[in-house]
Amino acid sequence: MSEKTLYDKLWDRHVVRCDDSGTCLLYIDRHLVHEVTSPQAFEGLRLAGRQPWRPGANLAVPDHNVPTTDRSEGIADPLSRLRVETLDANCADFGITEFAMNDIRQGIVHIIGPEQGATLPGMTIVCGDSHTSTHGALGSLAFGIGTSEVEHALATQCIIQKKARNMLVSVDGQVGVGITAKDIMLAIIGKIGTAGGTGYVIEYAGDAIRALSMEGRMTVCNMSIEAGARAGMIAIDKKTIDYVKGRPYAPSGALWGKAKTDWQSLHSDSNAHYDRVVHLDADSIQPQVTWGTSPEMVVAVGDCVPDPATELDPVKREGMQAALAYMGLTANTPMTEIYPETVFIGSCTNGRIEDLRAVAEVVKGHKVAANIKRVLVVPGSGLVKQQAEAEGLDKIFKQAGFEWREPGCSMCLAMNDDRLSPQERCASTSNRNFEGRQGQGGRTHLVSPAMAAAVAIIGHFVDVRTLEV
């Protein structure tokens, strides 16, 4: 069969060799590095006396451990500081480009890749981070790897992998006004489950996906891992090419023309075979809010907290009961009657400029609701921050009573000082509502930037489409 999916094409282009069992060496075009998953890998290289195969293919940035408050005094927490300094030293020793903490280009690794043009269509991209799936939005094959594989990628410019299966998620028709990429993705996860994509690479297609901006597509691909998929991707179109053009690491001059012609061939053939196809009706997607401790525990904002008593599968029922207990919620409570105390806006899912614009649009001229203790706005990169300030978004946030921070992962995983206290309830634009993810005992509800903004000024979850702003 000659008809191929985008994944088939990208895979075939990058296979160096395969053995009889189908285990292949896959060539890696871009390796992104951050401070959490790399020290043991660099140490491994050192112990074995190895050098990076192609230093220029790597790009490093500290993001998880950096403070989002004033950085002029460096990092106060000695353990976080050691991690970041270790990355600095490893990059210096091995000749790897790093955007260090105080570089304007510093930011969350999955934000800066596309922003710099270090992520290009048609590439294979790996990073010791599960949300590497983000980069698939540019029509690349991008997946998260463990630290042993980070070392392997550094040493050999390849990783060892077997081909995954193809899955198509088609979001048909157009979403209603006020429905964001985040709502689309949460609805997809709600439908297929957190293990629904296990063993697959997902290609997102359909009119609603095509209609998304590049940043919206990144939000969708970002959370592929929350659906269990090895990677997520979206075919290259004019938007992709326009987005990449002129970025610092993107090709220019004669090479640009060549690259562009090549990239235009990177889409699935019309009769390509998918092992699994899922359709969603875009029109039926409502604003989404998670109620539990797994991203699949999600409902429309107009719904109620589900009742475990209606679940027939005993393992699932117990999971729901445990989640409700952890979240401090009662079954059948309307989602709109849940009152968070904290709002977190940022992360590699929703820390880009369009996300901040969406927040500003909702909060402009309003103040933080009385029950909301704090609202953190953490831009995804230094350049996102700069752009937001140029547009005056920071003023809107500050006037509303929000905290405007320095770029990094921040409260998405609370490895720095930004974290929830036990039982503190948070509306978050991040990607994981796992127990303790945002701080031990913290309670996370995943939402879109617009919903997070609405919670900040109204005080509870609300259908953003009904707001008069």
Binding site: V16, E43, S130, G144, T147, C158, A195, K258, E296
Partner: protein, 213 residues
Amino acid sequence: MQAFCRLNGLVAPLDRSNVDTDAIIPKQFLKSIKRTGFGPNLFDEWRYLDHGELGMDCSKRPLNPDFVLNQPRYQGAQILLARDNFGCGSSREHAPWAMFDYGFRVVIAPSFADIFANNCFKNGILPVVLPVEKVARLFAEVAPTVGYKLDVDLEKQQVTTPAGEVFEFAVDVFRKKCLLEGLDDISLTLQHVEEIKAFEARRKIEEPWLFSS
């Protein structure tokens, strides 16, 4: 990497689905830049009643008596029995490092998250996928039987219960070989240096823009 061939080991059941790697090893322990020493913090937030931080002496911390691994009958367990989608979430290899350090050599579940399973194979832990009904059966057998052990044989790809019942499992040929022999896959890949170089040279011609920076 330590090889894994065969094990007759005590089984501990962890009866939850979607156990994520944040739960297996919470983020505060990711600040260690070592590969070892994570065992005492495995499942930290479930295992202890207080909040754990890196560098604390875990032997002095209050244990959560309700957490399964704290029950005396499961001390020394080498096989973890788990539910669907075990190891989902973050790609942190600290999760299998912590499991190995604690003493687990095998995890049995109906399904695993992709990156986690991969990380296990690279660290001497065998993830065994069994059908959901078989896993449910094992859960039912473990609970009433103190000292319940399973025999896990990677060579034969079999799990054998104390009653002699045999469950076959599938495993990737390459990963099996690496685990049986404790092979370092970087050395294996570097046997193909010439092929990688030739491939790279071809790519430089076909997609030169990937090599311009």
